[in-house]
C-alpha cells in the first residue's frame, strides 16, 4: 500500500517539471542587483578604500595624491600586498600561516648569505632562496596535514623558530652582528637586478615627461622616474591570484578545501595537495618580499618582516576572507593592503600623530570582521 503511493508519487513527479518551477519559486525573491553586489567578498575592502581615500582627501596635504605621493604609499602597500594575497589564498583554503613575517627575515638571511658570504651570483641566490622558503612552507604544511594540529599553533611555533634561526644565522654569517651588509655591491651589474629592485617602466615615464603629461624637474626629467618594481610584481600577482581563485579548477579546489575538507575529499578533491601548495606559495611570497626589500635596502637584518604576518592576515580579512576558511578574495586582500599603505604613509601628510596607525589597524580589523559576518549572512541566506 505504501509502495503504491510512493510509486505513483514518483511518476507524478517525473511529469510536471514544467509546472513545478513557477510554484517552487514563489517563496524565493528575485535576486536583486544589490544582493549580487553584496555577495562579492571584496565589497568591504572597496568600501574601506573609498572611506580612507575620502578621509585623506579631506585631511591630508594635497601632495599625497600626486603621482609621487601615490608611488610613495604604493611601495609599502605592494610589499604587504604580496604577503596578504598569499595569506588570503591560504585562508580561503582553510589554514593560517603566522610564520610569514619571520619567513621574510629568514629568506632575507638565506638570500644575503648566498650573495655576500657564499658569493653566489644573483640568479642562483634567488633560486636558492625560493627553494629554501618553499621547503619550509612544505614542512609547515606537512606537519599541519599529518598531525591534524591547527595550523595556527604549528605556524606560531615556526614564527619563533624562524625568527630565532635568523638571529643565530646572521650572527654566524657576520661574526656577531644582526645586520648583513654588502648586498648592493654583490649584485652590481647583474642583469636580473632590474627585475627585483629600483623602478620599472622608466622609458614610459620619460616619454610621458616629454609629452608633458607628468610633472618634470627643470632639466626635463620626470619627477617620478618609474613605478617601483614591487608595485609591478604586486599588480601582476594580484591579477593572477584572482584569476586562479575565481576561474580555474585549482581555485575551486581551494574554496572546497577551505569550505569543508571532508566534503571536498569525498568529491574527489585532492585536499592535501591543494593545502601543501598553498603553504609553499605563502612561503614563496615571503621569499619574494625578502628579495625585493633586501635588494632595495642593500642589507638584511633580523627585524625584517616583523609582525608582517598579522598585517597580512588583517589585510586578507579586510579583503573579505573568513577566518573559518572557504570564502574570500585575492583582489580584496590586495585592496586591503593598499588601505594599509595609504594609512601608514598618509598620516605623515596630515597633522595627525602617526602612532594612531596602530589604533587604526585594530579598529579596521574589528570593523571588517563585523561587516563581513553581517554581509555573509545576508548574501548566503545563512540562518
Amino acid at each position: 500500500m505504501v509502495d503504491k503511493t510512493a510509486q505513483s508519487g514518483g511518476e507524478a513527479a517525473a511529469e510536471p517539471p514544467d509546472t513545478t518551477p513557477a510554484q517552487a519559486d514563489e517563496r524565493i525573491r528575485e535576486v536583486s542587483a544589490m544582493t549580487k553586489i553584496l555577495r562579492r567578498p571584496e565589497l568591504g575592502a572597496i568600501a574601506g578604500l573609498i572611506l580612507v581615500t575620502v578621509f585623506f582627501l579631506i585631511t591630508a596635504n594635497a601632495n599625497m595624491f600626486t603621482l609621487a605621493g601615490i608611488m610613495n604609499f604604493m611601495a609599502p602597500a605592494a610589499q604587504l600586498g604580496i604577503l596578504a594575497i598569499g595569506a588570503a589564498l591560504l585562508m580561503v583554503g582553510g589554514e593560517f600561516d603566522l610564520s610569514v613575517g619571520s619567513m621574510v627575515a629568514f629568506a632575507g638571511l638565506v638570500f644575503g648569505t648566498c650573495l655576500v658570504v657564499l658569493g653566489i651570483p644573483l640568479p642562483g641566490a634567488i633560486v636558492i632562496t625560493f627553494i629554501v622558503a618553499g621547503a619550509m612552507g612544505a614542512l609547515n604544511g606537512q606537519i599541519v596535514l599529518r598531525t591534524g594540529l591547527p595550523s595556527f599553533i604549528v605556524t606560531l611555533a615556526f614564527l619563533f623558530i624562524l625568527r630565532g634561526m635568523t638571529l643565530v644565522g646572521l650572527k654566524w654569517a657576520t661574526g656577531g652582528s644582526t645586520q648583513l651588509r654588502g648586498v648592493k655591491e654583490a649584485v652590481e651589474g647583474s642583469w636580473l637586478a632590474g627585475f627585483f629592485s629600483g623602478d620599472a617602466l622608466e622609458g614610459l615615464f620619460a616619454w610621458f615627461a616629454s609629452m608633458g603629461w607628468v610633472d618634470t624637474f627643470k632639466n626635463g626629467l620626470p619627477k617620478v622616474q618609474g613605478v617601483p618594481v614591487e608595485v609591478i610584481w604586486f599588480v601582476i600577482f594580484a591579477a593572477v591570484a584572482t584569476w586562479v581563485l575565481v576561474r580555474t579548477r585549482f581555485g575551486n579546489w581551494i574554496f572546497a578545501a577551505g569550505g569543508d575538507a571532508n566534503a571536498a575529499r569525498n568529491s574527489g578533491v585532492a585536499v592535501n595537495r591543494v593545502k601543501t601548495i598553498l603553504f609553499i606559495l605563502t612561503a614563496c611570497c615571503a621569499a619574494l618580499v625578502a628579495i625585493l626589500t633586501v635588494l632595495d635596502a642593500g642589507s638584511t637584518d633580523a627585524r625584517r618582516g616583523f609582525q608582517k604576518e598579522f598585517e597580512a592576515i588583517i589585510a586578507a580579512v579586510i579583503g573579505g576572507c573568513l577566518l573559518t576558511g572557504g570564502y574570500g578574495s585575492a583582489i580584496g586582500a590586495a585592496i586591503g593592503a593598499v588601505i594599509f599603505g595609504m594609512v601608514l604613509i598618509g598620516l605623515t601628510y596630515t597633522t595627525i600623530d602617526q602612532d594612531w596607525y596602530l589604533v587604526f589597524l585594530g579598529g579596521m580589523l574589528l570593523t571588517a570582521v563585523l561587516f563581513n559576518n553581517f554581509i555573509r549572512k545576508r548574501a548566503t541566506g545563512e540562518r
Binding site: 505504501v2 508519487g9 575529499r265 573568513l322 541566506g381
Partner: protein
C-alpha cells in the same frame, strides 16, 4: 543465519543475473581491536533500491565507507559488476561508478550551486596554455539538471546555503547521477528532513531507480525504507541479520527485526557471547 540470508540474496539476484552491480560477500573490517564488520553480505541490482537498516553501531557507516573507498576491508569479497575491486581512495570508487551522498557532508554551504555541482570535476576550457572553468556551460548544465528534478535554481551562482535541506540532498544526488554513477549510496538522506522535503527526496530516489541505477539507501526509518525499497538488508553488530525482498517482509516485521535483533544480541551476550 548469515549463511542462510546470503544464499537468499543470491537466489534473488540470480533471477536477473547480470544485473548485479555490487556484490559483497563476508566483508570483515577491523579497526585495531574493534571489529566493526564481522562478515557482511549483500547485493545491489540495477534498477533496484536496497535499503540498509540497522541501529546505531550496527556497522552501516563502516560498510558504506568501505564501499565508497574510504576504508579498505580487512577481509572478504567485493565485486563491482562481477569484477573484484580494491579501492585505495574515494576517487577510485567514483571512477568505478559508486557515488556516495553523505548526509551532512555533501555540499559546501558557502560555495555556489554550480561550484558544488562540479566540485572535483570542473569542466575545463582551454585558451592557449591557460585552462579555466567553463562557467557558462557549468551554469547551464546545473540549471538544466536541477530543472529535471523540479527545482528551479534561478541563479546557479547563489550559495548552496540558501537552499533547503531537501534541495541540498537533491542537488547532491543529481550531481552523482549526472556524473554517471551506476550505484548511489545515500547515507540517511531523510533523517534531518521534514515531511515535505522527505517526500521530495524519496520521489527523486524513485526517479533515479527508474533510470536503471542501483541505490543503497541507508535509514533508521522503516517507513521511509518501505516507501522506496525493493530489497532490505538488516545489519546488527557488524553482521547481516537478514536479506529480504519486498514481498517477503512487512513493515512490522522489519521494525521488530531491527529492535528485536538487538534484544537477541543482548540476551546472547549475557548468556556467554555465542549465537
Amino acid at each position: 543465519m548469515t549463511d542462510n540470508s546470503s544464499t537468499n540474496g543470491a537466489s534473488n539476484g540470480a533471477a536477473n543475473g547480470s544485473d548485479v552491480l555490487i556484490d559483497v560477500r563476508d566483508v570483515v573490517k577491523h579497526f585495531g581491536s574493534v571489529i566493526a564488520l564481522n562478515g557482511v553480505s549483500m547485493a545491489v541490482n540495477r534498477g533496484q533500491v536496497l535499503c540498509l537498516l540497522g541501529d546505531n553501531g550496527a556497522g552501516k557507516s563502516t560498510l558504506i565507507k568501505t564501499l565508497a573507498g574510504v576504508h579498505k576491508p580487512t577481509a572478504g569479497e567485493f565485486r563491482v559488476e562481477g569484477r573484484a575491486v580494491d579501492f585505495n581512495s574515494p576517487r577510485d570508487a567514483l571512477d568505478a561508478g559508486i557515488a556516495t551522498v553523505y548526509q551532512d557532508l555533501a555540499m559546501i554551504p558557502l560555495m555556489s550551486v554550480t561550484r558544488n555541482f562540479f566540485m572535483g570535476r570542473e569542466p575545463v576550457k582551454r585558451l592557449g596554455p591557460f585552462r579555466f572553468i567553463n562557467f557558462d556551460e557549468a551554469d547551464k548544465t546545473t540549471r538544466e539538471e536541477m530543472q529535471k528534478i523540479g527545482i528551479d535554481v534561478r541563479d546557479p551562482q547563489q550559495a548552496v546555503g540558501t537552499l533547503s535541506g531537501g534541495e541540498r540532498q537533491c542537488v547532491a544526488i543529481a550531481r552523482a547521477v549526472y556524473f554517471g554513477a551506476k550505484v548511489l549510496i545515500l547515507d540517511e538522506p531523510t533523517s534531518a528532513l521534514g515531511v515535505a522535503q522527505t517526500s521530495m527526496v524519496l520521489k527523486y530516489v524513485d526517479q533515479v531507480r527508474n533510470k536503471g541505477l542501483g541505490v543503497i539507501f541507508i535509514t533508521h526509518n522503516v517507513r521511509h525504507a518501505m516507501a522506496v525499497g525493493d530489497r532490505f538488508t538488516v545489519l546488527n553488530r557488524g553482521k547481516t541479520l537478514g536479506n529480504f525482498a519486498r514481498d517477503e517482509i512487512n513493515m512490522d516485521e522489519l521494525q521488530n527485526l531491527m529492535a528485536g535483533g538487538k534484544e537477541l544480541q543482548q540476551l546472547s551476550a549475557s548468556l556467554g557471547g555465542t549465537v
